[in-house]
């Protein structure tokens, strides 16, 4: 059984909670005690049917204050796959939450209400999905029951979205007409829409091929921790522990360690379960090198003929996530990139992007909460980076305000020089 992580996005009343409730309920991930609580609440509220949306209802702090607290993670499994849903709320602080949920997603489901068609938020969701390089996108046209399961309605939304998507570089796009409330095309194909010959949503989620989305070409191994046992049995053992960020490493491979630039070969790849012949993303392993080099946390192991950019000048798209402050040129922040910590100076804000219209505002002088822009950073130490589009691990970073320790921004490296 493998694992699929997906994010769901939608506007306030498009039925996202009902859809998730339906997936959990129909895949039997809902337990009787949870269902009882929901049935009781539905009765208390006078609902005509059990409101599956309540299954994803949030914390008391949220209900009391009428706010939604960022991403909730939910789990279900079928005999084929385990699923992790990053459920991002629909309104307040939307961009920040969606960026967070999409950062680890293999697939995103964007819901639209068939009655309303594409709205401004649908375009924003699609843009953020592609900004975060989520490899698979599903446009779920929900509430088809309220438009008499009309093929024309579905086709018109499909063609409008497809035209918009060409501007965004969406790698894999699937359209599914559905009714989350009635369960049409959620788990099984619906008889109500005989004109639709595609898969149900669950069938698609179970079968979409995600293993090939990982970068198996560029060897990237950020050193996370140096293992030195200090015991008689392993007296001379020195291993470099980390999680493979790209490529396939094998014992005997010639490698280069950055930043020193020294070459050596891989003597062995260890795990607690014994040595392995190959390591690939996202395996956590410990690498032994043939030569005794000075290697520490934050260094990176790669192949001599395929190295990342080594740079202190970084161009990136940045999403600002802090409500108490803003990004401004001249600001100094801490940066965390793979296993490397440094400080960064904001040299320049090139433009702020309007996520609804994709308009670039080059006169902007700051980025506030939920705003996205292109910046240039100068770092105190070189980063070993790839463009985010090529590798989400070596291309992504976070910025931290050193006076508050808060994570204030997420960045995606575009190029560096």
């Amino acid at each position: 059984m493998d694992l699929l992580r997906f994010a769901t996005a939608g506007s306030v009343d498009d039925g996202k909670s009902t859809l998730i409730g339906r997936l959990l309920y129909d895949s039997k991930a809902i337990f009787e005690d949870q269902l009882e609580a929901v049935e009781k609440t539905s009765r208390d509220r006078g609902d005509e049917y059990t409101n599956l949306a309540l299954l994803t209802d949030g914390l008391r702090a949220e209900r009391e204050q009428g706010i939604t607290i960022d991403v909730a993670y939910r789990y279900f499994a079928t005999p084929k796959r385990k699923f992790i849903i990053a459920d991002t709320p629909g309104h307040i602080q939307y961009t920040r939450n969606m960026v967070t949920g999409a950062s680890t997603a293999d697939l995103a489901v964007i819901l639209v209400d068939a009655r309303n068609g594409l709205v401004e938020q649908s375009r924003r969701h699609a843009f953020l999905t592609t900004l975060l390089r989520v490899p698979h996108l599903v446009l779920a046209v929900n509430k088809m029951d309220l438009v008499d399961y009309s093929e024309e309605v579905f086709e018109s939304i499909r063609s409008e979205f497809a035209a918009f998507a060409t501007k965004l570089n969406v790698p894999d796009l699937t359209f599914i007409p559905m009714s989350a409330l009635n369960g049409d095309n959620i788990v099984t194909r619906s008889d109500a829409m005989p004109w639709y010959d595609g898969p149900s949503l669950l069938h698609h989620l179970e079968n979409v091929h995600v293993a090939s989305d990982r970068n198996l070409v560029d060897v990237r191994f950020p050193v996370q921790y140096v293992v030195r046992p200090q015991s008689t049995q392993y007296h001379d053992y020195r291993g470099y522990a980390g999680q493979v960020a790209g490529g396939v490493l094998k014992a005997g491979d010639e490698v280069v360690v950055l930043p020193s630039g020294f070459s050596t070969t891989i003597a062995g790849i260890d795990t607690a379960d014994g040595p392995v012949e190959e390591a690939f993303p996202p395996m956590s392993v410990t690498i032994r090198l043939a030569d005794n080099l000075d290697v520490s946390r934050g260094d990176l192991i790669c192949r001599p003929n395929n190295q990342p950019m080594v740079t202190q000048d970084v161009d990136a798209m940045v999403c600002w996530m802090d409500s108490a402050s803003a990004l401004r040129p001249g600001q100094k922040l801490a940066i965390k990139h793979t296993t490397r910590n440094a400080r960064a100076l904001v040299k320049d804000l090139q433009y702020r992007l309007d996520v609804n219209t994709l308009h670039r505002d080059e006169a902007a002088d700051e980025l506030g909460l939920n705003e996205i822009g292109r910046v240039r950073l100068r770092t105190t130490q070189p980063l070993f980076a790839d463009p985010y589009g090529r590798n989400r691990t070596t291309g992504g970073f976070i910025l931290i305000d050193e006076s508050t320790n808060r994570t204030v921004a997420a960045g995606m490296i575009t190029t560096a020089e």
């Binding site: 059984m1 949030g58 702090a61 993670y73 293993a211 607690a272 956590s284 296993t339 989400r392 992504g396």
Partner: protein
């Protein structure tokens, strides 16, 4: 190239391998970046899995931090025996933060009815302060409860150990922000993305030993609020409660006065995996009296500094 784990694709990993790789990465991040971590070890199945992952993350070096047990004094003796033996096998230091000691010292007072659930929190915070821990690994999972579903892997706590759900640090990719000022700490949940079934499948795969009460055994029990409670020195039946013998096992192991058993005939891990696959009750809903106080019981306790 043949598939490595039978999942059918070259260079693919099973869900358990993926979860394990993520948990190992989280543990190494903590040890690399934090000053004084510890791991909360109760002898329960989630903490047993967590300890196994710690063993793997730093192999062949020993686990580079102590483990801590917040001991309510209301224990199942089988679990304490197991705890002590496991700690000795691994050669790790065990710190016991004792609720009984704290009562004797006057730090906390037992609630009427003898429940020690809420008073665990000040005892935990007292130990964190005493040993100056800045990172505490906990075995909690997001599938357990809805407050947990929204909590970060690195959960920031202020000087009072409090969780502020409205003020959490964004957590993207596998980049974790563990920065704290003095007195603050991070609760770290390496098993955040595991489900109860994943935990049992991992126990089966790794052939992990568990305290015997996780398997079906005959025990003297009585019913309280519909839950099957064991007769122990800390949890005696009241007059109207009838004692009978039943075949039961535990799904979670907590304070003996609050943790209920379930009827079961499962005596092997495989049989438990089969039972868990078809069970229709959450593990907390079925067996934890401590979450039944109100719909938001867990949320409230976390805000006070609970795990």
């Amino acid at each position: 190239m043949t598939p490595l784990d039978g999942s059918g694709f070259e260079y693919s990993m099973s869900q358990l391998s993926l979860l394990e790789a993520e948990s190992i990465h989280i543990m190494r991040e903590v040890v690399a970046e934090m000053q004084r971590p510890t791991l909360l070890f109760s002898g329960g199945k989630d903490s047993i899995v967590m300890l196994r992952i710690a063993e793997k993350a730093f192999w062949p070096a020993p686990i580079p931090f102590p483990v801590m047990h917040v001991d309510t004094g209301h224990n199942f003796p089988e679990v304490l025996d197991f705890r002590d033996r496991r700690v000795q096998e691994l050669g790790v230091q065990l710190i016991v933060a004792s609720v009984q000691d704290a009562i004797d010292r006057g730090l906390v007072r037992e609630e009427p009815g003898g429940s020690r659930n809420r008073i665990q929190t000040p005892v935990l915070l007292d130990a964190v302060e005493k040993y100056r821990f800045d990172a505490l690994f906990g075995g909690a999972r997001r599938d357990e409860e809805k407050a947990r579903a929204k909590e970060r892997v690195f959960s920031f706590r202020d000087e009072f150990g409090q969780w502020d759900p409205k003020n959490q640090r964004p957590e993207l990719w596998s980049l974790y922000n563990g920065r704290v000022f003095q007195g603050e700490s991070i609760r770290v949940f390496p098993l955040s993305n595991w489900t109860e079934l994943d935990v049992w499948q991992y126990i089966e795969h790794e052939q992990l030993e568990l305290p015997p009460i996780y398997y079906a055994h005959e025990r003297e029990v009585y019913l309280r609020h519909g839950m099957v409670m064991a007769v122990t020195e800390h949890s005696l039946p009241r007059d109207h409660e009838t004692v009978f013998t039943a075949l039961v096992r535990y799904r979670t192991v907590g304070d003996a006065t609050l943790t209920a058993a379930v009827y079961s005939e499962a005596v092997t891990v495989r049989q438990i995996v089969d039972e868990v696959s078809v069970t229709r009750l959450t593990e907390r809903g079925a067996t934890r009296g401590d979450d039944k106080f109100s719909e938001a019981a867990m949320e409230d306790r976390k805000k006070e500094g609970y795990f």
